[in-house]
Amino acid sequence: MIKGNFIDNLPKVYGIYTGGFLAFIIIMSIAEQMGMTAKTIGICFVAFTVAIYAIIGYLSRTAQADAYYVAGRQVPTVFNGMATAADWMSGASFVAMAGGIYFKGYGYMALLVGWTGGYVLVASLLAPYLRKFGCYTVPDFIGTRYGGNLSRFMAVVVLTVASFTYVTAQINATGTIASVALDIPFQYAVYVGLISILLCSMLGGMRGVTWTQVAQYIVLIIAYLLPVFWISNKMGAGFFPHFMLADEVARIGELEQQYGFVKNAAADLKTVPKGLAGITKAHSAVNATPWAFISLALAMMMGTASLPHVMMRYFTTPSVKAARKSVGWSLFFIFLLYSSAPMLATLSKLSLIDPSLPTGIIGKSIAEVQAIDWYQNWNQANLMFVSDFNGNGTLELNEFFMGGKAVVLATPEIAGLPYVISGLVAAGGMAAAMSTADGLILAIANAISHDVYYKIIDPKAETAKRLVVARVLLVVIGFAGATIAALEIQGILGSVIWAFDFAMSGLFFPLVLGVWWKRANKEGAVAGMFLGLVSGAAYLVWVRSGGSGFLGITQLTFGIFGSAVSLVAMVVVSLMTQAPSAATQKMVDNVRVPAGKSVI
């Protein structure tokens, strides 16, 4: 039924899959009614979805380089859009984004603008041209356009630094979810997560990752939207929250006025468990300077256009035209989740702080709050905390603390939704983290196997040997990432943002100018990648070790400095050295025309 003409049958296949998943949710909710425990439901959700991805990964196995590296270049526009959206939306987007908005408001929402606006740059500056180029990897483009092993190697270095920073956070997230859902210690759960990730990508490479990512997108978007709509309806806030929460947003503003943001004494704050935060910033008011907002958004936009695991998804479309449209579909599918995150943050906050709602806890007596079931559960999970700092026996706004993850994880329970939703959310978070980890590990392994091993070390290697090397690297990189993740060094979101800054520092201008500036040459590109990456990293180290920074560039936006250095270095060095050869210039001309054969 599926084999043979798989591509033509895609809508049918994924239609059946979606129906099957919805049926599974219904079966689980019936099972809950019949007395299945919350823990069993969680295990069923995670195990069932991961098993499905593994089956898809197995069915997509391949022995052809074209299928392994670029899914045979036959992924239709809309499906590539879904796969890119899953590739893009990480465990952090899924679990932590609504929490960030909840706690930091406007200043944090620069990330929403940045992580979507970047796609305009992808569509207009890069994706169609790189697709026409016909490369397998991003360093493949750099190496062929500029020539020479050094430029190729530098691109692999930047790609690895940026993607590896990112991938440890994703493996960490799969580990966290697996450890909660399956009730095993984190150190082991990380490896359970890793094996699930490798099951999707090892046999089929990009082909396997593509079809599992589509499946993962469907799970994660249902898992995110269903609770938001359900909670909104249950609270009577409106049946379509995105258009109907203006009153709730205004009400939060009123309550903020009424309570005021009382500053806690440092000694009191020391008693709050690590990682939890109180509400200290206005929900919908502008609470950041224009430059703080714009610099963060700009760094994320340029970073988006430089991250290889996103770019390589557009190598899989059948044509240049399809690559452009596919960027639009990607952003549409991303938009569905991103535009819902602020709505979830609003519903979550109002349900907790409005004393006129049955779930509101601010203004209740501390003892009463401590007796609530869900408070006890999430307090035990180290995600909620109350303390009577002023000793008046009543819970004030500044005496309530919560972990960022709790907004997504706890709100359904607070609103009184059945446990089946919690299981669904766990499966969604797992899908989001797995799909991004797969894309990243594959990007690194492909760059090393194709660009370093095949193009530099052993250009005569046979396909079979190349694919063995690619798979071995995939496993090695995965284990390296998992080992570092198990050490739990950096919080999920910090390292995700750094990845964008590293990528833009080293790759943004070498990629963009490679298409848009014929005069850019090898020496310039190498200087741009090297100095960009080094200066960006140096700035990060400087600010982290107590440096004051300049121009308001923080450790989250160091890529602005790195990429500026990269641009200047690239232009100056290019102009000081010889113009690229006639053959290279002709190659650039060829890239700019959509029709005809690919360049490589």
Partner: protein, 86 residues
């Protein structure tokens, strides 16, 4: 001017227009975030808040599809579009 140069000229023009619109909704309006937030926006949300939640994001989606269609027209005009549909 050769056909290819003309094609590139038009492509570059479209790029600049696309980037100008992108600039307005990703950077330009947030220079006036505080002032704009005093104004009521669509569906009753404060205007800047609405742009960060939905407005800018939605405009980017539309902008990319608009860009893709315009570029296809340019490619067709010069006979550079690819054969077959997708």
């Amino acid at each position: 001017m050769s056909k290819q140069e003309q094609h590139w000229e038009k492509t570059r023009g479209l790029l600049f227009m696309t980037l100008a619109i992108w600039f307005v909704f990703s950077i330009g309006i947030f220079l006036f975030g505080a002032e704009m937030n005093e104004v009521g926006g669509p569906f009753g949300y404060p205007l800047t808040y609405w742009f960060t939640c939905q407005g800018s994001l939605g405009i980017f989606v539309i902008l990319i599809f608009w860009f893709a269609n315009r570029q296809e027209k340019i490619d067709e005009e010069f006979g550079f579009s690819e054969r077959g549909d997708d």
